[in-house]
């Protein structure tokens, strides 16, 4: 066995390890080139593009009704929120607003999506840190939410429930009952989560003081979402730029100051509680009325540029549409949260061990199709 060559061992004796594109903890086809000094990380270079599907380019050839469906495939764990962002951008262009009922349904669905996404993240964090069982507990709770999605939207993951002007059809008669049950169950099961990971000494050791991201770094890398809020950067789009009526709902923006993996973990755990709070406020107060504002069969946006941001479970998703007045957008650009969050990975992981890198990747909650689009 000979250890030579630039891509294996550098002249300084640094070990070059290609983590991914097929690696159990990169959560998809992410390729990280890692320079190691023993087990200590010296440098990381993310290589992307393994799952690039040109969603932005595809959107230029689809009508304003149709391009929404493609965004379900970006951040597939928050498909509903992605769809909502696009619909909101189109509504902004048309100068209309969704009906009050549709708005509340969107918030409810969005928060259920956020819960489901955070539950999956919690399970995967446990899995990445070597505990297999959390994954199954998380999936038990996530399954209930997926069932709600299936009942009302017709699909479990890529719902495509949002259309410009509202939602595609009204909620299922069982929706409220089922949601209340799921939320009640989840509130009980949340103590399991704390017992299994939050208080566990091994987990705390693995995450506390690991992968620290300072507030300054978070700002300069454009990090958003719970990852940034754990560093003390207040950036919740739902608070700063309320959409869909989030301004009428009571909830707290979760902030922490440590900026380490444990802070990110606790931020997300607290966000789950906030999501539950929002759902509980709204579930009995869905206003009556139309679920969809009337729009023309062929939507044409006026000439101009429209930008809409929403808060996905991973951070700020921006949809930027340039319209030349035709029936399909001239240019669409998505500002995906995963991409910016990934850029901070190298800074966070430097000086840590390989095990730390896995913990950091788990707590910034990467979804690779969201990064590549």
């Amino acid at each position: 066995m000979s250890l030579l060559g630039e891509d294996i061992v550098t002249e300084d004796g640094l070990f070059v390890v290609n983590m991914g594109p097929q690696h159990p903890s990169t959560h998809g086809v992410l390729h990280l080139k890692v320079w190691l000094d023993g087990e200590t990380i010296h440098k990381i270079e993310p290589h992307m593009g393994y799952i690039h599907r040109s969603i932005e380019k595809m959107s230029e050839n689809l009508s304003y009704r149709n391009f929404i469906f493609a965004t379900s495939r970006m951040d597939y764990l928050a498909a509903h929120i992605n769809n909502e962002a696009c619909a909101l951008a189109v509504e902004k262009g048309l100068g209309i607003q969704a009906t009050p009922r549709a708005k509340v349904i969107r918030i409810l669905m969005g928060e259920l999506t956020r819960l489901a996404s955070h539950q999956l993240w919690w399970g995967c964090t446990g899995l990445d840190l070597g505990a297999v069982s959390p994954f199954f507990y998380a999936f038990r709770d996530r399954e209930a939410i997926n069932d709600i999605m299936e009942e009302t939207c017709g699909a479990r993951l890529t719902q495509n429930y949002v259309v410009p002007g509202g939602v595609m059809f009204d909620i299922h008669p069982n929706f409220q009952k089922r949601t209340k049950e799921a939320i009640a169950n989840f509130k009980r099961n949340l103590t399991d989560y704390d017992k299994l990971l939050t208080g566990n000494v091994i987990f705390e050791n693995r995450t506390k003081g690991v992968g620290i991201l300072t507030k300054e770094d978070a700002i300069s890398f454009g990090v958003t979402g719970p990852t940034a809020r754990a560093s003390g950067l207040s950036c919740d789009v739902r608070k700063w730029f309320p959409y869909s009526g989030y301004e009428n709902v009571e909830f707290d923006e979760i902030l922490a100051t440590e900026g380490d993996c444990f802070a990110r973990y606790m931020c997300r755990m607290a966000e789950m509680r906030q999501s539950v709070r929002i759902i509980e406020q709204l579930i009995d107060n869905i206003p009556e009325g139309d679920f969809q504002e009337k729009t023309k069969a062929v939507i044409k946006l006026p000439k101009g540029e429209f930008y809409q941001r929403v808060e996905t479970p991973r951070g700020e998703l921006g949809v930027f549409i340039v319209s030349d007045g035709a029936a399909s957008p001239y240019r669409v650009k998505y500002r995906s949260p995963g991409f910016s969050n990934l850029s901070a990975l190298s800074t966070m992981a430097k000086g840590g061990k390989i095990g730390d890198l896995v913990a950091i990747m788990a707590t910034i909650d990467l979804v690779i199709p969201d990064i590549d689009r």
Partner: protein, 171 residues
């Protein structure tokens, strides 16, 4: 032929074969593994002689300690996978002469020595006896040799640390 004799020859073959391969192998990691076999063979020989305690100590110290340290130091130095250069002929001849004269000297001593059957109190090699003997300071006690031998482990430890420390050349 008795089973015991067969086992002895098997063990002897293992020791000698392992030793020869360890010296002749050009891959340093393989050499360490062959050395391991040789040491295990020696441990087996102790077992064969019913000196179980010594055999276990042989495994603990040499196999579990020294060889692992050797392998570690091989890991820590790069380029360990390449073949070593074959030694020069002159050097090989010199080593061969040195080794065979050492062998001859040992054999000479063994052959000249008058072996006699031990008489009287044969100490049973039980753990209790070994423990008492090892820590006794009387004439037949082994406290001093025991301590001297522990220097071997110290030397191995220091050697491992020296190899592990990378000299950082600062520009």
């Amino acid at each position: 032929m008795q089973a015991s004799i067969i086992i002895f020859y098997c063990l002897a073959a293992m020791i000698i074969g392992g030793a020869i391969l360890a010296v002749t192998s050009l891959k340093i990691f393989r050499a360490a593994v062959f050395l391991l076999f040789s040491l295990i063979g020696i441990a087996g020989l102790y077992f064969w002689m019913n000196y179980e305690f010594i055999a276990a100590v042989q495994i603990v110290v040499y196999v579990g300690g020294i060889v692992v340290l050797i392998i570690f130091s091989i890991f820590l130095t790069h380029h360990s996978g390449e073949d070593m250069k074959s030694p020069k002929l002159a050097r090989s001849i010199f080593v061969a002469i040195a080794a065979s004269s050492g062998f001859a000297l040992t054999m000479l001593l063994i052959l000249q020595h008058q072996f006699f059957a031990s008489s009287g109190n044969v100490v049973e090699p039980t753990v209790k006896n070994i423990g008492t003997q090892m820590l006794s300071t009387t004439e037949n006690g082994y406290l001093l040799p025991f301590e001297v031998i522990s220097i071997l482990l110290l030397a191995a430890m220091i050697g491992a640390i020296v190899i592990a420390i990378k000299t950082k050349t600062k520009a």
